[in-house]
Each structure stands twice: as C-alpha cells, then as structure tokens.
C-alpha cells in the first residue's frame, strides 16, 4: 500500500532556515543543509525548500544550498520561491532538486506550468497554492480564494477551480497551504484539503497548521491529503519525525517506518 508522506518544509533566507508566524516575524532556526541531513537521518519522506531571501545574491546562495543538500540526502526534495522561468527551474534541478514549486509565478503566467511540464516532466512541477477562507460566493464557489505574493494579494481565483486548471495545464502535485491555519499550530484546514484533493487526480500535500501528530492523522485521513507538510512543530523540537510517524502508524495511517 502507498504510504502517506511526511514532508518537512524549510524556509531559507540568504542561506539560513527561518520560521515565521503568519508571514511575519521570522526567526533563524539553523543551517538548511545540516537540518536537511538530520531530517533525512530522522526518517522524513521528502523535503521542501522555499527561498524567501531578498539579498541581491539570494538566488546564487540558494543554488549553493541545493547543491550541498543534494550531496547529503537520498530522498526527493523540491525547491520553490522566486522561480519565474523554465531556466530558473533548470538551475535548481541541475543543482540536484527533484521538483520545483511555483506559486505566484504560476498564477501570473500559467504557461509556466505548461512549459515546465513539457521541459522537465509533470512529476517535477509542484503547484503551490495559498488558500484563504473567504466564504462561498458566485465568484468563489468553494469558499476559498487563492492569494499570491506571500499570501498578501487576492486573485479572485477559486481554489478548487485553480487546482483543476493547474492539473490540466500539467502540474504533477499540489502543495496546498491554508493562510488561516499557517503558523497557528492549531491543525490543518481539513475542509479545503478534502475539497481540493477530491477535485484532482494528482497528489495533494496539506500545509499550514501542524501542531500535533493528531493534526497530521486528521488531514491524512478525513482531509484526504496524500502528504502532510510540517515546519515549526519539528524545527522547534516539539515532536520528532519519528514520533509523528509512530503516532500515525499506531493510528492506522500507512507510513514508512524503516529508514
């Protein structure tokens, strides 16, 4: 049986892993390469790195991080943040990433999904979605609207519709972040996850709100997610990956237990 994946997300700012709450007040939590190696040894199934750097050299710094990570781990990892062209994608893939994650750039330029999938294969293209609960309306039938630019700018795109469209354009996977739940550690938004996962035939990674292993269990079962993203809950040492996976396994969620 296919296992549910536990994925650790590392936000990287100019070579350091940082963690913020609701896109504000980031604190440095460590060296991304060392952290990646520790999570790999600790049983994580996959990693995602987001470049949130702002310095003039942040792209080059990120490539160095990706190259160093690729030499240390032997599990899949994705890289996102500031990838606007297929050449941007190519650079991180050649440095050793397996997948690229695009979010704002995909909304602004949906052809990027098409071109990326054609050039590197669908399995490479992860669509990042920032969804905010806004209430159902004619414009937003699912009640969840897509935001871009670090969750600051509304787009008038309905989350479920955008997920379906992106799948048709060639996205291979969706990483669905709930803006409302992000950073709260009060649990994932199971409703939006279930809706989006049920609407597409590609894997959906739930993101935003993990505070306890029970939150992962809930989104991986009732929320129909194929994978769950965690950050603060492991970065700050509240739980280890092994503890989370043991809990999931004990509660009947298929996960990889030997690593």
């Amino acid at each position: 049986m296919l296992s549910k994946r536990v994925i650790v997300c590392l936000d990287v700012r100019d070579g350091k892993t940082t963690k913020g709450v609701k896109f504000q007040g980031n604190v440095d939590v460590g060296d991304p390469v060392e952290m990646a190696a520790e999570y790999y040894e600790g049983g994580v199934d996959e990693l995602v790195f987001y470049d949130i750097g702002a310095s003039p050299r942040h792209k080059e710094i990120m490539i160095d991080v990706v190259s160093a990570v690729a030499k240390r781990i032997a599990i899949p990892f994705a890289v996102g943040g500031g990838l606007r062209t297929t050449d941007d994608m190519r650079r991180v893939l050649l440095a050793g990433a397996d997948k690229v994650s695009i979010d704002t750039a995909a909304v602004r330029n949906p052809a990027l999904i098409v071109d990326g999938a054609a050039r590197f294969g669908r399995q490479c293209i992860v669509l990042g979605m920032q969804a905010k609960r806004v209430g159902e309306s004619a414009r937003i039938p699912s009640g969840y609207e897509i935001y871009i630019e670090g969750a600051r700018t509304p787009t008038s795109l309905d989350a479920v519709r955008w997920a379906r469209e992106a799948e048709e354009l060639g996205a291979g996977e969706i990483c669905l972040n709930s803006i409302d739940a992000d950073g709260t550690q009060e649990g994932y938004d199971r409703d939006v996850t279930r809706m989006v996962s049920g609407a597409v035939n590609i894997p959906v990674i739930a993101s935003g709100g993990a505070g306890t292993p029970e939150h992962l269990r809930a989104v991986l079962t009732e929320g129909k997610a194929d994978a769950a993203l965690v950050a603060s809950v492991v970065h700050f040492g509240t739980y280890t990956i092994a503890e989370i996976k043991r809990y999931l396994s004990d509660h009947g969620v298929p996960v990889r237990m030997n690593w």
């Binding site: 030499k71 032997a74 440095a95």
Partner: protein, 204 residues
C-alpha cells in the same frame, strides 16, 4: 580502483541525483549521450523520467538505441531505472511505442479503479519474489520512492519484486545481465542506496 559507471543521458529527466548517488557510493560517474561510450561502458545505468514515445524517439535520434542493444548483448551489467525500466521491454502502451526489446514483455498503464490517483507517487513496499544479488542486505517489504503511471509487465520469470497499488505490478525485474527497478533507488534513502550499491558490485 573504483569502477567508472556510465549513466545514459537521453534528455529524459534530471540525472544529477543518480550521478551524486553513484559518487557517494565511491565510484566515478560519466554522464553521456555518446553511443560509443555506451557501447564500451563496463557498467551502465539507464535512468529516465517522462513519456516512452518521446524517449524512444530521442534514443533513435542520438543513435543510442542500437548502442544500448549492443551493450546489453555483450553481457555487461545494466540497471534500468523508472522510464529506463520500462523501455527495455518490447513495447509500451504509452504513446504505443516499440521499445528496445532487451527483456520480453510490455509496459501498461497502472490498473487502478476509478478515483485512485495516477501517478503512483510516494513510498511503497516491494515484496521480493526471487533471490537476486540486488536484494543482498535489503529487508523484504522495504519501502522505495516511486513516481510513475505506467509499469512493466515482463514475462513471469523476470519479476524480482512486486508492489501493490490498488493491484499488484512488477516493480523490479531481472534477466541475465539486466536488472531494472520502477522506483528511484537514488531517492529511496539508505535502502535505495543499498540496492544501487548491490548493482554496482554485481557480477552477472
């Protein structure tokens, strides 16, 4: 003296992780699209992701199809990975493609009921159905990382490992000097590296 490993590049996906995994296991790696280098390789990895039709077309354009057949017939070890584990068979239903025919059989779309997600993406168990050098030190039912929509259907005797995704499929196959895995050993953690290391030591 560590052996030089040849990795076939036919523009079907990113080979960085395969190369790094080989290097990490203490070998040199040459990534090449040159038919002569493939023909004369001492140990060959044939990776790849993407669609069978485009992959076969590129192999032909580059003259790699004949080189791969010649290499395989010489009896030296060959490891197919992912798409490379599919197009070593006779035929793929993906794009209705005639393939290399190094192993008898065909490739078909994963058989999954309505509502089941395709591609099969993530970690899944491999049940070892035949002893083979690549299984040395690898626990039965270990999990490996998969990303694919099609799977090989070799003649029965070639199956080395089976995986269940709403139905069983052959995830590892072997015949003479050829072994092939549908999963990505270079992205399957310690156990994947062990399979790769076993291949690199294998003397068929």
């Amino acid at each position: 003296m560590p052996e030089q490993i040849t990795i076939v590049d036919y523009h079907a996906g990113n080979l960085t992780s395969v190369r790094l995994a080989v290097e990490r296991l203490g070998h040199g790696a040459v990534v090449t699209s040159a038919p002569d280098e493939v023909r004369t390789a001492s140990r060959l990895i044939f990776p790849g992701v993407g669609a069978a039709g485009a992959a076969m077309a590129t192999l032909k354009t580059l003259g790699l199809d004949a080189a791969l057949v010649e290499y395989a017939r010489a009896g030296r070890p060959l490891l197919g990975v992912c798409l490379g584990a599919q197009i070593i068979l006779d035929y793929s239903a993906e794009d209705r493609t005639n393939c290399l025919g190094l192993v008898s059989g065909r490739v078909q779309l994963l058989q999954a009921p309505e509502g089941v997600k395709i591609p099969h993406m993530g970690w899944n168990e491999v049940v070892q159905v035949r002893t083979h050098a690549i299984w040395q030190g690898v626990e039965d039912r270990s999990q490996f990382y998969f990303v694919h929509s099609y799977a090989p259907v070799p003649e029965d005797a070639a199956a080395l490992g089976l995986t269940d995704y709403h139905g069983r499929f052959v995830s590892v196959l072997g015949q003479d000097n050829i072994v092939a895995c549908q999963f990505h050993p270079e992205r399957s953690g310690r156990v994947g590296l062990r399979v790769l290391d076993n291949f690199l030591r294998w003397k068929p």
